[in-house]
């Protein structure tokens, strides 16, 4: 049997530096290795600094989900201090993080995912609406972003790199007239989603609870012509339902916790059954990563980051996070499976956790969040405070877990004498694109790529779609 090894990099329409090395036999991938190739050293940068600096520095880990990083840093400090934010701050924080997620999901869909259908081997006429900088859907999606950015501006001031989420709460009180303005802008964005993405009202989409209902919905003209309908038709035609599955274990720390502690999308770990999520069960392995091996597999609270670029038995700057010693997938699909969302659960039952289902979950989550943003805005009470001074973090440990657009994000922090002694970050793509671990078990993407056909190594289109369905952000992974 002829076995070929091919390295693909860089990927077009992808954030960050990624290299995928695959072994191909008979036109199919038999094994793969995902490498994060750019090291920037954020964790070591933070040693010896004021704990509050983490809010400023870590939001520069990623230009797309920086607010979520700063929220995780603030949460880690809050957990060290044992304080909570006022109710308004939790609502405003949710609005900011949900908007960051919606922006990220739609940026992924319109800029990274959908345009591939316009290129060989697909060259789909139907996909011309997604043509970069030219297709009608592409152009409108970019234009309508403005309305959502306006809401973000009223609450977070500026973005990327807003510092509006602090340990004591949010820095900008919102007035009643600004809430009204935000509702108005939001409804403009909603109109775009209803007219162009769905071809129906939000509520009609949100009532779909099963695959047959989805199929019936797709059968109607205005839905089929929408961006979601077009994407679904193209995906079914080109087999995106049949690639990218793996024996998935899903992880979520719980997304968007409401003002009274309940979470919109609950935490959990799912491997057939959904169980309770406990961050103490997380370890990070470095056997195949360019870091000093001394520690072996360590819990992030006592994790180490000692670069060892000379190790030629390693292949990635990303570490390998494991839950109960095993790889786990995180992101919109994981969140919605754990939340027992009926539509997504049924889709996963029929098509497995495939590239198609991952992408639909991302769009579905955006739509659910969009509805929720309006509800949270409505609950903000301008007469009540947004901020309550928090004491200085002098010593102790803290953990901040926040659901980022792409999945579970954790910051672990240890402070002594008012200075950061250790800082560890595990990002969503860290989970999804993890390299092999101490027992050589591949990460989720590495396993999901096995079996994917590569008929033409110059155009590994199906492979690219499996990679992209995880919406990898390599900036985050290798921080």
């Amino acid at each position: 049997m002829v076995r070929k090894t091919i390295a693909f990099s860089p990927f077009t329409r992808l954030e960050g530096d990624l290299q995928i090395r695959v072994d191909i036999e008979n036109g199919q991938i038999v094994s793969s290795r995902a490498s994060g190739t750019l090291y920037r050293g954020f964790e070591t940068m933070l040693r010896g600094r004021d704990p509050l600096d983490a809010i400023v520095i870590t939001c520069r880990v990623c230009g797309q989900c920086g607010l979520t990083h700063s929220a995780a840093a603030a949460e880690a400090i809050r957990s060290l201090l044992g304080v909570r934010m006022p109710r308004n701050a939790r609502l405003a924080g949710n609005v900011m993080l949900a908007i960051e997620a919606i922006l990220s999901h739609f940026t992924h869909f319109y800029l990274s995912f959908a345009p591939d259908f316009t290129e060989p081997p697909y060259c789909e006429r139907q996909a011309q609406i997604f043509l970069p900088l030219a297709g009608s859907s592409f152009l409108r999606a970019l234009r309508e972003r403005e309305a959502l950015l306006g809401v973000l501006g009223l609450i977070a001031g500026k973005w990327p790199n807003s510092l509006a989420i602090q340990p004591g709460g949010t820095t900008r009180p919102v007035t009643a007239s600004e809430i009204r303005r935000a509702h108005g802008l939001l409804s403009e964005y909603l109109r775009f989603v209803e007219e162009q993405v769905l071809g129906c009202e939000l509520e009609e989409w949100l009532q779909l609870r099963s695959v047959p209902e989805l199929e019936r919905w797709l059968g109607s003209g205005s839905h089929a012509a929408g961006d979601l309908g077009t994407f679904a038709a193209l995906s079914l035609r080109h087999g995106l339902t049949g690639i990218g599955s793996w024996p998935a274990r899903f992880l979520s720390s719980g997304g968007w916790s409401g003002p009274d502690g309940e979470t919109l999308l609950p935490p959990g770990f799912h491997d057939g059954l959904t169980r309770e999520f406990d961050s103490a069960r997380i370890t990070e392995h470095v056997k195949h990563s360019w870091y000093d091996l001394r520690g072996g597999a360590l819990p992030p609270a006592s994790g180490e980051t000692e670069p060892a670029p000379e190790r030629d038995d390693a292949y990635s700057w990303a570490k390998a996070p494991r839950y109960e010693g095993q790889p786990a997938e995180t992101g919109p699909l994981a969140r919605l499976i754990i939340a027992q969302d009926p539509l997504i659960a049924d889709l996963a039952k029929k098509y497995g956790p495939s590239a198609f289902v991952r992408e639909i979950a991302r769009l579905h989550e955006s739509i659910r969040l969009l509805k929720q943003v309006g509800a949270w805005l409505g609950e903000v009470d301008p007469e009540e405070p947004f901020y309550q001074e928090a004491p200085q973090a002098l010593s102790g440990t803290g953990v901040g877990l926040v659901e980022a657009p792409r999945g579970t994000l954790g910051h672990w922090l240890r402070v002594e004498e008012g200075k950061i002694q250790n800082y560890q970050i595990i990002t969503p793509t860290g989970w999804n694109l993890s390299p092999r671990d101490s027992v050589d078990e591949p990460g989720p993407l590495e396993t999901a790529l096995v079996g994917v056909p590569v008929p033409d190594p110059d155009r590994p289109a199906a492979m690219a779609y499996v990679v992209k369905s995880f919406d990898p952000c390599l900036y985050c992974t290798v921080h």
Binding site: A7, D17, C62, E119, L142, E146, A147, G150, K158, Y475
Partner: protein, 335 residues
Amino acid sequence: MANLLWIQAVCCGGETASLLNSDHPHLPAALRTLGATLLGHGYFHDQDTGRAEQVIEECASGKRHVDLLAVEGAVHPQAPDGSAWASAKPLAEWIRAIAQVADCTVAIGTCASFGGVMACGRNPLRATGLQFHRDQKGGLLGASFRSKMGVPVVNVPGCPAHPDWIIGTLWALRANRLDEADLDRFNRPRVFYGKLAHHACPRNEYYEFKASAAAYSQQGCLFENLGCKGTLCESDCNERLWLARTGSCTRGGFPCLSCTSPLFPDGFTPFFKTAKIGGIPTSLPLDVPKAWYVGISGLSKLACPERLRRNAVSFKPVWAGNQESNEDGPQNDRL
């Protein structure tokens, strides 16, 4: 059509995210005004022109003309940074080669301009900017570098840069409306970096009377206690405004950290506190002599109207009417 080659180096993708936020005009129209094809960019590179790394090689060898080279992110000149371009050369070498043949090179963001966050702290990876390392000339290309157009690397700092600064600078270069005389001492276009972030901040009146916020979410000026660097930060954020012209850092209630400065971030610690000696902030507003500052601020504090004194430490407006009925104390200050 001109060629605009956009390379993402040691970065976080933030400049690209900011570029996508362009409004008035939106990005596609903004790119049309440039009359340029965007090459090499992670999102916008067009496969029809060839695979991105192949295009980079063609640009370096002169086979494909580069009108504008835009770099997002710092560079690691010493170490092969292993960045993803499949070819043997580290990214820094590609940038060095292409800068020699491009008509003009533009550093997008503080990292590309000065090293920024990627070069902060001890900087073990020795990240640096294209033609500056922090506030010193040098960087990857060296102090004497001039592009074919005869200008040094044009710096468009900001963490990230405002989309108007990016598009506006590229447009001015394309239209031959920008030369060395239009750049300041850090090679930033004066038109965007000739003002202060402090200008048009809604807290200006509080600043004048030194009516300061004591904690976040309060309406007073953030300079005296909360670490605002807006009075020495060269940018036009509060006039230009961000995010569909709805906000800025100080409008968002958090301090300006002077992210357009060559010394960002380490030159501006503590970020969220104002360093003081004997009650006087150690970094005074740009161009204001210390003696004057001390004299004026003492006087203006004394002259501060009650309205400002109360509102400065309140998270919501305290109206004049309330003031009268609350003569005994600031009961409206809920914090």
